[in-house]
Symmetry: C2
Subunit: 260 residues, 2 copies
């Protein structure tokens, strides 16, 4: 592995990077993802613009295959389990709009330019290194500290994938010849109530898990589920980690950091 | 009128322009439009990226209302007269993909940021200053030179709008509070055969007009028509020039240039 560093929001640096490396393959994950802020931040426009510049430079430098990070937020998730090419694409956030647009333009450019491009649409991912303010780390941190962990939206079903599996799936997708959108998810959604209880068991503090049942959740879709047929049959990839195994590693990692 | 000059593909110049002018209103027409090349050029990615940067800078500098130039190429034109919000958006070119994406992201960003944004979707425009290689100028030039003008796709129906009307419609749209996509067109498509004959009459050389009826047109949609209800009723604008009046001015302009 050779590391190259560049600020992709700087067009000159971006072009220099491509000119120096002349990559045959591109796995593009960079974006603005500050928890709570990224959904409708103007930074999404800058990252969409940067992504277009990157794909263009990659294609013009003779790149052969690119994989972009997409998102479940590109779908109309209320239409049942999201399936590529079937579930309507209907973002309700600037983040989803920008990811969808970048992927669509990328695919169109790639097909005209004659290289391959796929979009790995990530759903919910958890694991070591996640921002402490997000759901899974905040539950883990509370329980490790001996504080109560309150689940306010226990009925919501979400598809959670362990981060090492998400990474492996992206690599498998890059190594394949599959093009277009491909869901990257476990295929099995879990109620947030069950996820919190699973974490409670792993931390050994199930006694600290509480649930509030009167929480207002009018703006949250009840189910965000993924159809993973393309990933399993066309890319040929399935997860290696059970949810329990992923939570186990994640709890161990948080304990090892000594920050909670 | 005060002119400011900037290269919008240069992010620093773009930001400096917005910082200097601090515009309340933005009418954004710049794009790559080289005849024959623009449909699938990589330059579309650069202009889409630039448009996102421009909208972002405009919104963050307190801009109130923006109008972007859209295109009939954003629609699935085979579904009959294109109507905003009804006809499916289904581009078949990189140009259409990029225009559609820029407009969608622009509208999403504007609604989150709290300013107004509309997209004037232009259909076919003709008039003084048009590139000589395009359809109307090439017919005019042939006839003025005393050469035969051959119409190879006489059956195709297209909506042609005179450029001064197109400009007036864009200004009317900017001066309104209408948001989202708005078709900018005459509302009345004409067969290319009839358009060429009209030009023949205006130039006074109808004797030079020919038609080839065996031309292959498998890749061309038979009809590109616009529903102009939004433009007429919501913006309150209708064309000032008849097709004959527009052709008349255009022929006079080409004669005046002395280049044909």
């Amino acid at each position: 592995v050779r590391w190259h560093t560049a600020d992709l929001l700087n067009r000159d640096e971006l072009q220099r990077l491509i000119d120096d490396v002349r990559p045959t393959h591109l796995l593009h994950l960079a974006w603005y993802t500050e928890p709570g802020l990224y959904w409708n931040s103007p930074a999404n426009l800058a990252w969409a613009a940067s992504t277009l510049e990157l794909i263009r430079a990659f294609g013009e430098a003779g790149g052969q295959r690119a994989v972009l990070a997409g998102t479940c937020a590109e779908y109309d998730v209320r239409r049942g389990p999201c399936q590529e090419g079937v579930t309507p694409e209907w973002p309700t956030s600037l983040y989803g709009d920008c990811k969808l647009a970048a992927g669509r333009i990328g695919r169109s450019f790639a097909s005209h330019r004659g290289f391959e491009l796929a979009c790995g649409r990530l759903f919910y991912v958890f694991g070591p290194g996640e921002s402490a303010s997000r759901f899974v780390p905040s539950v883990i941190a509370s329980l490790i500290r001996g504080e109560r962990a309150v689940c306010r939206h226990g009925d919501l079903l979400r598809d959670y994938l362990y981060v090492r599996d998400a990474a492996a799936a992206l690599v498998a997708l890059l190594d394949s010849h599959v093009t277009g959108p491909v869901n990257i998810a476990s295929g099995t959604p879990i109620a947030l109530r069950d996820l919190v209880e699973l974490i409670g068991c792993q931390v050994g503090r199930i006694d600290l898990v509480d649930e509030v049942r009167d929480a207002d959740r009018s703006t949250e879709p009840p189910v965000v589920a993924a159809d993973v047929t393309r990933l399993a049959t066309e890319v040929g990839w399935t997860p290696s980690f059970s949810l329990v195994a992923g939570i186990d590693e994640t709890v161990a990692w948080w304990r090892s950091t000594g920050t909670v």
